[in-house]
């Protein structure tokens, strides 16, 4: 790109800007205000609104500053009489057909047209004729059309700036919104009467400069000026987009808008974050502590409940020792709460039985986590993703798990010719942007990786640098050749030819980024996959910043934070291993206690111990095990065996209904703290809404409970916890809570060249389903559904009200199924009746069911002992 600069004068001020910028950008860069409607920093300029007219000397007419590039020596005036008059006239034109129904418009108070008319507009209109009115329902004279389930359109108010269409099409690559008609009949609509719904549809509402597009969740709710705005961070996926939470005194947290952070989201939010994270004001929230008596719960005072818990814990401890207790938190809690929970379990209770992962059949052990921590150091910040020339996404449907990540990939495709190669058991769909899909069979990921390594070694697609010589390397290279392509092809379902194409593309790319989905590294073959990817990255010379990198995706809001701050049995806070003496002593001296020495159990082992009767008490902190764990019968059995089940939750979930004691928790808008996103960036969120009366903030509850158990926890507020915990970490030490700033801080991103692991890949050959249960069942998160939380969100329940079985068009044809037919899905474990959704994402022979629907829980079909579940489908 040309980096030369151009000097020009704007309003008697010398301005120096890059050569390819426009007059508007130049003016904004030095703080000169030019009004505009249609221009947006993320979009190409179109010059549709004519609001940004300025006077340029030696040009005969006023020019639209958003489309005119700067030139050397240009003299621009933005405040002459001519310009002021022109703005007034433009606004008069814009307002001719605008209904001026601000009193009933939801945008009122945050409307660009209102503001600019107030600043620049005519005081009177000279237009006396009738205005054009779009009526959607003539019977009721109803002006608003529901474009999609989440978005309303009022065409009368539209000023045809096309921002919504351009955002949808340019940035997100979807073509489900268009501009139709012409002249005064121009209108925004979804083509062919379809629904306007994609995972980013909410952005059109935010960037509509008028009230033409309004969101369902804010429709006729409250005036924006009555709301308090608080900076917060979205917990709904690992990207950690910045949001502004809007809360009202009586109604609580009601909506979110974006808070531009150029390192993460560039002012965009996905619908799951924008709409789905509004659940704190739900009426079903638990509002006071409860103790189970018989079949019902009795509401009690805090001290009584905490006393009851402390008694119970002490009793179990004295009878069976601290190993008979365990704690499972969630990966959506803040860093401070994670640290506090870890401290509570280790110091207060005295056990290492601690985990936060409750939705997997197998978990990474201490060794695998060490590899993970090392690999995580090769990660690349989000803002740099678009600058790669090849991105290899493996093992995740990234559009559902990390929507904003795809925004950066799409930008790369649009602007820099980025090539996205996707290997997954479901297809990736980027709308109009192209993705090369390499669809492998479920469970065939390791076979594919081995195949790739094999091709690269065989065809010598790596450089002859140091690590790739010597006996060890050749021994490893030989070990790869033991498995032949037929076995690999049988396992992963991709032919040798396809694997070679992929391998060559990876090896020949200038710089390549490996994006590794959580389903892959946390799957049954997780640690092997990690090592294989490591070798692949090293072989293709893509290791180490800045030339290449490996991004491990962490799917939930604070998975990485929970790992970092001690929610695994083997790692103490700040990634100190249990057996690492230095770290241990440091923590012991800070906490002023002896840490438990016995080996702890992770979730799966804990459940085994519960089953055996060795663990009698379990503390579930915002963890809905009954809904999440991939074997419903088993978990139900385990939980009902417990003597003491403490559930610290936001909602009265199915798990909570089994509890002995329930404590109310606070959500991310009701407390403050920090989250760690998938890049390792620590970001601060603030308290936006007061918890309902009588609910204590979670950190207060945890501290108070620890005090009751005899541990000295004295914290004034979450920042104090943060200050304490960073002193333990070598990476995060020196981070100042008050100076985390608007962008947050990335920690632990050392620039390092990674050593090849030379891992000898071995895998079990593929076990296909039998004739009884032919279809492998995949599960995962939808864009519109996350955990039990979105069950309590109206918008998300409107878009995705129940689990739909996603099958490929080919299978639908052979089974004679149509969209929305009810089918009976049966596994060896159980059966569910669900509706069918025909999806091009599913390859033939593979079916997908979203998890975490409490009524139609896919976990009832799953068996914890099988790595892959098979089902059969019959028409109900």
């Amino acid at each position: 790109m040309d980096n030369s600069k151009v000097k020009l004068t704007i309003d008697d001020r010398e301005v120096e800007v890059p050569k390819d910028s426009t007059i508007l950008e130049a003016a904004l860069s030095v703080g000169i205000d030019i009004p505009y409607f249609c221009w947006h920093p993320n979009l190409e300029s179109v010059g549709a609104c004519r609001m940004c007219l300025v006077e340029v000397e030696k040009m005969p007419k006023l020019v639209a500053s958003c489309v005119n590039p700067v030139a050397e020596g240009m003299v621009v005036h933005t405040n002459t009489e001519k310009v002021i008059k022109a703005r007034e006239k433009v606004l008069e034109f814009v307002l001719t057909n605008h209904p001026l129904d601000c009193p009933t418009c939801d945008k009122g108070g945050e409307c660009d047209l209102q503001d600019l008319t107030y600043d620049h507009g005519p005081m009177m209109t000279r237009y006396r004729e009738d205005k054009v009115r779009w009526i959607v329902d003539t019977h009721y004279r109803f002006d608003d059309l529901q474009l999609g389930p989440l978005i309303y359109r009022n065409q009368n108010r539209c000023i045809t700036c096309f921002r919504c269409v351009r955002i949808t099409r340019e940035i997100f690559g979807y073509s489900d919104l268009g501009v139709f008609g012409r002249g005064s009949k121009t209108h925004i609509s979804a083509p062919g009467g379809e629904k306007f719904l994609n995972e980013f549809s909410g952005n059109t509402v935010e960037y509509c400069p008028v009230g033409a597009l309004t969101a369902r969740n804010f429709r006729y709710k409250i005036r924006p000026w009555l709301c308090e705005q608080t900076p917060t961070v979205c917990p709904m996926c690992g990207d950690g987009c910045n949001m502004t939470a809007w809360s009202h005194q009586r109604k609580g947290h009601i909506r979110n808008t974006s808070r531009r952070n150029d390192s993460i989201d560039e002012g965009m939010l996905c619908d799951r974050g924008r709409f789905g994270s509004v659940f704190s004001n739900h009426p079903d929230r638990i509002k006071s502590p409860m103790i189970k008596e018989g079949d019902t719960f009795r509401e009690v005072q805090w001290e009584e409940a905490l006393g009851f818990i402390a008694e119970g814990i002490k009793k179990i401890k004295s009878e069976s020792g601290p190993e008979a207790l365990g704690g499972i938190a969630s990966d959506l809690v803040s860093n401070e709460e994670a640290y506090l929970f870890s401290r509570l379990m280790r110091q207060g209770v005295g056990t290492n039985n601690l985990d936060f992962r409750g939705d997997r059949k197998s978990l990474l052990g201490a060794g695998a986590l060490k590899i993970l921590f090392e690999m995580q150091k090769m990660s690349v910040p989000l803002e740099k993703v678009a600058s790669f020339d090849t991105v290899f996404v493996i093992g995740t449907d990234i559009a559902s798990t990390h929507p904003i990540y795809t925004m950066w990939l799409k930008r790369g495709i649009r602007k820099a010719g980025l090539r996205v190669l996707a290997a997954n058991s479901r297809k990736l769909d980027f709308g109009i942007y192209s993705v090369q899909n390499f669809t492998y069979r479920p469970g065939g990921e390791l076979a594919l990786l081995l195949g790739l390594l094999k091709v690269i070694v065989k065809e010598k697609l790596y450089s002859d640098a140091g690590p790739f010589r010597g006996g060890q390397f050749s021994r490893w290279a030989n070990s790869l050749q033991k498995t032949n392509y037929d076995t690999i092809a049988a396992s992963c379902g991709l032919s040798e030819e396809r694997i070679s194409i992929l391998a060559r593309a990876l090896a020949e790319s200038e710089n390549c980024l490996f994006v590794v989905g959580q389903d892959l590294w946390e799957g049954p073959l997780g640690s092997s996959c990690l090592l294989a990817i490591n070798d692949l990255a090293v072989l293709t010379e893509n290791n180490g910043n800045p030339r290449g990198g490996v991004n491990l995706l962490f799917d939930s809001g604070n998975y990485l934070g929970a790992l970092n701050w001690g929610l695994t049995p083997d790692y103490l806070p700040a990634r100190r291993h249990r057996e690492d003496k230095v770290g241990r002593e440091k923590i012991e001296s800070l906490w002023n206690c002896r840490l438990p020495e016995a080996e702890g159990f992770d979730t799966i082992k804990m459940l085994e111990q519960i089953r055996k009767g060795n663990i009698k008490g379990l503390y579930l902190y915002q963890s809905d095990l009954l809904c999440d764990f991939p074997d419903w019968e088993y978990i139900h059995d385990c939980l009902s065996k417990l003597d003491l089940l403490i559930v610290h939750e936001l909602f009265l979930t199915e798990t909570a209904k089994m509890a002995t004691v329930i404590l109310p928790a606070t959500s991310f808008v009701e407390t403050e703290g920090t989250f760690t996103n998938t890049e390792g960036r620590i970001q601060r969120f603030q308290r936006g809404a007061a918890p309902s009366k009588g609910v204590r903030e979670s950190w207060q509850t945890l501290s108070r409970l620890a005090q009751k158990l005899g541990a000295e926890f004295v914290y004034e507020n979450p920042p104090e916890i943060f200050r304490e915990m960073v002193t333990l970490s070598s990476d995060a030490a020196g981070l100042d809570y008050d100076k985390l700033g608007a962008r947050g801080r990335i920690v632990a991103l050392a620039e390092r060249v990674f050593e090849p692991a030379l891992y000898e890949v071995e895998f079990d050959s593929y076990t296909s389903g039998d004739s009884d249960y032919p279809y492998p069942l995949l599960t995962g998160d939808l864009v519109y559904h996350l955990r039990h939380l979105t069950n309590y969100n109206e918008d998300m329940m409107l878009v995705a009200p129940e689990a739909h079985l996603e099958i490929s068009p080919e299978d639908a044809k052979s089974l004679e199924l149509k969209e929305d037919d009810t089918v009976r899905v049966e596994s060896a474990r159980g059966a569910l009746e669900v509706k069918v959704a025909i999806s091009k994402k599913s390859p033939p022979g593979v079916v997908f069911l979203p998890r975490n629907y409490s009524d139609k829980n896919v976990n009832k079909l799953r068996d914890r002992e099988k790595t892959l579940d098979y089902v059969r489908i019959a028409k109900a």
Binding site: K131, T138, F142, G181, K221, L226
Partner: protein, 170 residues
């Protein structure tokens, strides 16, 4: 002696003089009113108890825009909008805390629909402070029962409408 006469004269003359003033006023029109027995009369723009107006067909005018609430200097109005079956914006809650209100009339001035008005009613004393919160139903009742007749001629009756888009064939 003469002094004595003058003094006496002033005493005896002063009485009829004073009484003359009394009698003069006796036949004038009274300024005070016999309040509890006779109805009070007000200036047309007197600002008393609030009411919410209706259209002649009985429909509520209030669109719950919230301008009255933001115009109110004593912050005594709270309202929440909702959507009615025709997709229009109407008030779900409309509460005025009359004990907090300073009867400045800004709400009435801010209202784009001429929905909230201050009427002539001033007899609304209560025994409990809680009862001073007038809800939407009570405010509409004020209009129906008290102010409907009196307010005639002060309120625009027609609904604002604008032209519908002519049918397009292609």
């Amino acid at each position: 002696m003469a002094d004595l006469i003058r003094i006496l004269a002033s005493i005896f003359l002063a009485i009829p003089k004073g009484l003359a003033t009394t009698f003069k006023h006796l036949f004038r029109k009274t300024i005070t009113i016999d309040y509890p027995r006779k109805p009070a009369k007000f200036a047309p723009r007197y600002r008393g108890l609030h009411y919410l107006t209706r259209y002649p067909d009985g429909e509520e005018r209030c669109v719950a825009c919230g301008l009255c609430a933001i115009a109110c200097p004593s912050d005594c109005i709270y309202l929440e909008p909702e959507e009615n079956e025709r997709g229009e914006r109407v008030a779900k809650l409309y509460e005025i805390d009359e004990i907090r209100c300073i009867f400045c009339g800004y709400c009435e001035e801010a209202c784009p629909e001429e929905a909230i008005r201050l009427g002539w009613e001033f007899e609304f004393s209560q025994y409990d402070r809680k009862n001073f919160v007038w809800t939407k139903e009570m405010l509409l009742e004020n209009f129906d029962k008290l102010e409907k007749g009196r307010a005639k001629g002060f309120i625009r009756e027609k609904k604002f409408q604008f032209r519908a888009e002519p049918e397009t064939y292609f």
